[in-house]
Symmetry: C2
Subunit: 314 residues, 2 copies
Amino acid sequence: MKQYAFGIDIGGTTVKCGFFKNDGTFVEKWEIPTRKDNGGDLILPDIADAIRERLEKHGVSMYDVEGIGVGVPGPVLDDGVVNGCVNLGWGVFNVAEKLSALLGGIRVVAGNDANVAALGEQWRGGGKGFKNVVMVTLGTGVGGGIIIGGRILPGGHGAAGEIGHMQMRKNETAVCGCGKKGCLEQYASATGIVRLAKLALADTTKPSSLRSLAEVTSKDIFDAAKTGDAMALKLVDTLGEMLGSALAHITAVVDPDVIVIGGGVSKAGQILLDAIVKHYRPAAFHACRDTEFKLAVLGNDAGMYGAVRMVLNG
Amino acid sequence: MKQYAFGIDIGGTTVKCGFFKNDGTFVEKWEIPTRKDNGGDLILPDIADAIRERLEKHGVSMYDVEGIGVGVPGPVLDDGVVNGCVNLGWGVFNVAEKLSALLGGIRVVAGNDANVAALGEQWRGGGKGFKNVVMVTLGTGVGGGIIIGGRILPGGHGAAGEIGHMQMRKNETAVCGCGKKGCLEQYASATGIVRLAKLALADTTKPSSLRSLAEVTSKDIFDAAKTGDAMALKLVDTLGEMLGSALAHITAVVDPDVIVIGGGVSKAGQILLDAIVKHYRPAAFHACRDTEFKLAVLGNDAGMYGAVRMVLNG
């Protein structure tokens, strides 16, 4: 194993770059802007430049680099082919091959960003010590990643772990971004719980501390729930019901050792876990009823950790 | 690779024994009764005797046997530990180690029977040519097996693929054998569709050819549906709705290349696939919407094929 490796997490606004020792500790981390001009054609050359520059700065040769792991915000097949990234303007091409060619043929491994973050949390975060991990990321949407035996499950179409679009309610009238109605992320994301809060505030005259806010955020809802606000508690319970039911389905399929909950909404902490677990346990298959729940711990670094893990994983 | 191997499928009534060449073709297959006396203590010695006897008959030495794969009707952990088989009277022990010790230390690999059958279908049956397969077995209950990269996904508690107990209806009043209410197998198994038929016959006065039968079977229902019987068509549609929704959840989690439908109910053929696919496609995540469906082809031999594949798989 060579001495160094890179873990790169490509987001819609910035690219998070991690320069790692092969023991998984950072030499340095930094960000560059994601330039989406020209259909995203500049993104990989920008990353290649950033890597070259950083190697020069530290006096490290490319020959001492084991490889580069890259997390990408879209479906990625087993061989590194990206199946379109709407946020970056990318179509279908082999991102691993292309970045490798820009850096003299160095080994590059690519994965979907949610899957890569799950690998990071399994390796160094909330799922540390467990081989089989389901990670759920509750942010603007609901993302997921499935780690089996310490490796990402990519799926036949790069879509494994796309749990945000499990259809949880058939009688929903609001349309999800994906075009379906009743998807998990319409209830269990930051956007989803705010949507439900607006409906509750508009459709009822029930008192709530949320009424005094000009703009309600998911943090406001959890904060209000922590003070005992009845409407906020109901909203948190609905999120828990949807996510708990979905996780009962998920564990009946892949039966992980642990479930890790991450993303911005997970900053709510124990009240969130309690709401999920309350609905999960009675719905779960008995062998999976006691599966552990953990909060993610790596925050925005999870993607860099997971990305570098892909090249340090043999 | 040695020249021969055994694939053994332990059922509640009989043990199906397959003596294979290492190219996966049968030398011979036969059955022995499953003796459940003494808490199932006789089952493994009976299998060991049957294997020794068969080797002697064919003049093959134990040294020419690559190993023995065993499918077991209960949860099996990665290392061969059986986590209780109610049907056999077995508690918790390492079935692989125990059978190996009875046969001079030969390599034994054990797996859950539904998972092992899924591996058989992936290797030589309806899932042939695909690496990532979800198999659903519609029999007395609903079983499932998940094959990832040509290998069984056992799960952290030996419960991966236990899709029969996904809770599909929260307002169900009837209790499933597992103690929950609204499990997939309450609707999508042979027992489930017959249960719904009895309810429909008792609760309505709608005409149906099913009314003339003393005892309705799932085959009767599919046969009546094929002749256009409205009540039977509705029952088949409900099965399709439940299974289609569950499979949409399942593909959002593991994103297989193909879904294989097997078990006794699958003998209904195309009408069953059509009913499932009708409800699956609109509920599925877009990347998985066109995932192929196939019927299983190996019937009762799937378990033996899958079992031997576990030892021929490296």
